[in-house]
Amino acid sequence: MSSAPITLSRSRSIAARFRAGDEFAYTLTLVCAASIFLVTCLLVYQLWIGANLSRHQFGWDFIFTSTWDPAREIYGAVPFMFGTVVTATVALFISVPIGLGAAIFLSEMALPSISDTLTFLIELLAAVPSVIYGLLGIFLLVPVLEKTVVPLLKSTLGFLPIFSGAFYGVSLFSASIVLSIMIVPFIISVSREVLLAVPVDQREAALSLGATKWETTSQVVVPYAKRGIYGSIFLALARALGETMAVTMVVGNVPKVQASLLAPGDSIASVIANQFTEATSDLYVSALIELGLVLFAITIIINGLARLLILTTGAKVAK
């Protein structure tokens, strides 16, 4: 259909055909859409090439070595992978129950107008730049943790290895808390959407069988939306894994693997942010780029899983 005017205008001048413009518009927009491919491929290529030196020097040992010593030119990713995974996991432990609770309230309990207003406010939380979270982490959260939360934790759960040792304010724990606040809006807004998409007759059927509101929610509505909720959690996880600024400002930037959450640590994104401009040797820069490659691979996998889960729920709900 789009080619019809073109064939008719064959006898017209080039300028006239250009003005009709269908072919031109098609090509132009196609090129722009295809540029996404170009950029993504170029991105992977640059990471791969940039990491060349380090890949050849260390091979697979890179992700199994727990020493990071620029002075001796020994680079291993373990302390950073550890910090990234630990902070993201602890953040999920905090934000999933709270986020899910809030999502249930917003979809099942609150009046639609109140629910919409609260969701609007909560989504604003997601718009706050991460450097602002870092700023608040340093000056608001860390002092509160030092004065009240950590002494309380140590006096009650201090016998656990994860809460042992001295606390200097900056730590894996502080980073986890900041992350949990940053990712909770994603969990709430996506989970609320999938809960709202659960058909009303599912709820009515359960209620008519004598289930209470809570039983209906926990045994019918939530299981129905399960995959979508997992999807929201994976999305939040991907974001937590890649988060840079807020983490680097409160995590302590110590490349060590330590059992205690109260000890300072580091994460992949954070070490890149911190050391990239200071990296003096080519191998140093290359090792940091390889860390970027590792981070890229991790987030791609997690994101892919999340989209798959949300897509399959969407299809199920639409039927």
Binding site: G99, G101, P129, T212, E243, G292, L295
Partner: protein, 279 residues
């Protein structure tokens, strides 16, 4: 009959969900309140008009960082909006076969790439070949980050335009390109514009991709190929410094940045909500 236990569990769990909601909204208000209270205390006219002062002197401002952020965002818009917008037009109006869904998949993938990795990308393609940090590299990093959302928003709003409008224009003899340019895009314009503004607000607060692209600068940037200061980077550097004067400046900068980002978000989201009600 409902056993007392079931009644209690019901009431308890349902109120817990309410507590979760109140908690999150409470956190939001604490964050906003604390930041605005601190920021407003340390904000002055100097902040907008003066350059940063050396360590030890008090006063000074971040005029260069405000202008720097503006330049970076201008570059980001020039890169991100045309590619995202036209790519979105392709997906909504021309896309057939398996190619569009591959583009969509790639877009989501790119959107999920951590911002620090985008920073490495801009470093590799611009900073390393040019041998110095530049405003251009920072703008490229932010621009690449804008493309995925610009593309998907454009597609979404163009799809919302009723098919009958397209058919009407074509029945009057307009070519497809003309139909899109004069009928379809104007009908979706408000939504697309709001989406782009949200996109811009998102990258306005990005710090990580600027750290080793536009770097930072204590003075006015002397050109597009030179390093420049930017508000988010200044917040990071000042907040992590040991000086009280700098901390105060960081609060003021945080206040300005957050006020801008939230203002754009509120306005754009209200416009979007109205647009989707009308549709």
């Amino acid at each position: 009959m409902l056993s007392p236990r079931r009644k209690i569990v019901n009431a308890l769990m349902l109120s817990l969900t309410g507590v979760c909601t109140v908690f999150i909204v409470g956190v939001l208000f604490i964050i906003l309140g604390y930041l605005f209270w601190n920021g407003a205390r340390y904000l002055s006219i100097d902040f907008f008009t003066k350059l940063p002062v050396p360590i030890g002197e008090s006063g000074g401002g971040m005029a260069n960082a405000i202008v720097g952020s503006g330049k970076l965002l201008l570059l980001a818009t020039l890169i991100g909006v045309p590619f995202g917008f036209l790519g979105g037009v392709y997906l909504a109006e021309f896309g057939t076969g398996p190619f569009p869904s591959m583009v969509r998949y790639m877009t989501d993938l790119l959107n999920g790439v951590p911002s620090i990795v985008i920073g490495i990308f801009a470093y590799s393609v611009l900073v390393r070949p040019m041998h110095h940090f530049s405003t251009l590299a920072g703008g490229l990093a932010l621009g690449v980050m804008m493309v995925p959302i610009a593309l998907r928003t454009t597609e979404e709003f163009l799809r919302g335009v009723p098919q009958s409008l397209r058919e009407g224009a074509m029945a009057l003899g307009a070519s497809k390109a003309r139909t899109i340019a004069t009928v379809v895009i104007p009908a979706a314009f408000k939504g697309i514009l709001s989406g782009m503004l949200l996109d811009l607000a998102r990258v306005a607060g990005e710090t990580a991709p600027l750290l080793f692209t536009s770097l930072g600068n204590n003075f006015w940037s002397s050109g597009w190929d030179k390093p420049t200061a930017a508000l988010p980077v200044m917040i990071y550097q000042y907040a992590t410094s040991p000086y009280d004067d700098w901390h105060r400046q960081a609060w003021a900068a945080g206040f300005v940045l957050l006020a801008l980002v939230l203002a754009v978000n509120v306005v754009a989201r209200l416009v979007l909500a109205r647009a989707s009600h009308a549709a």
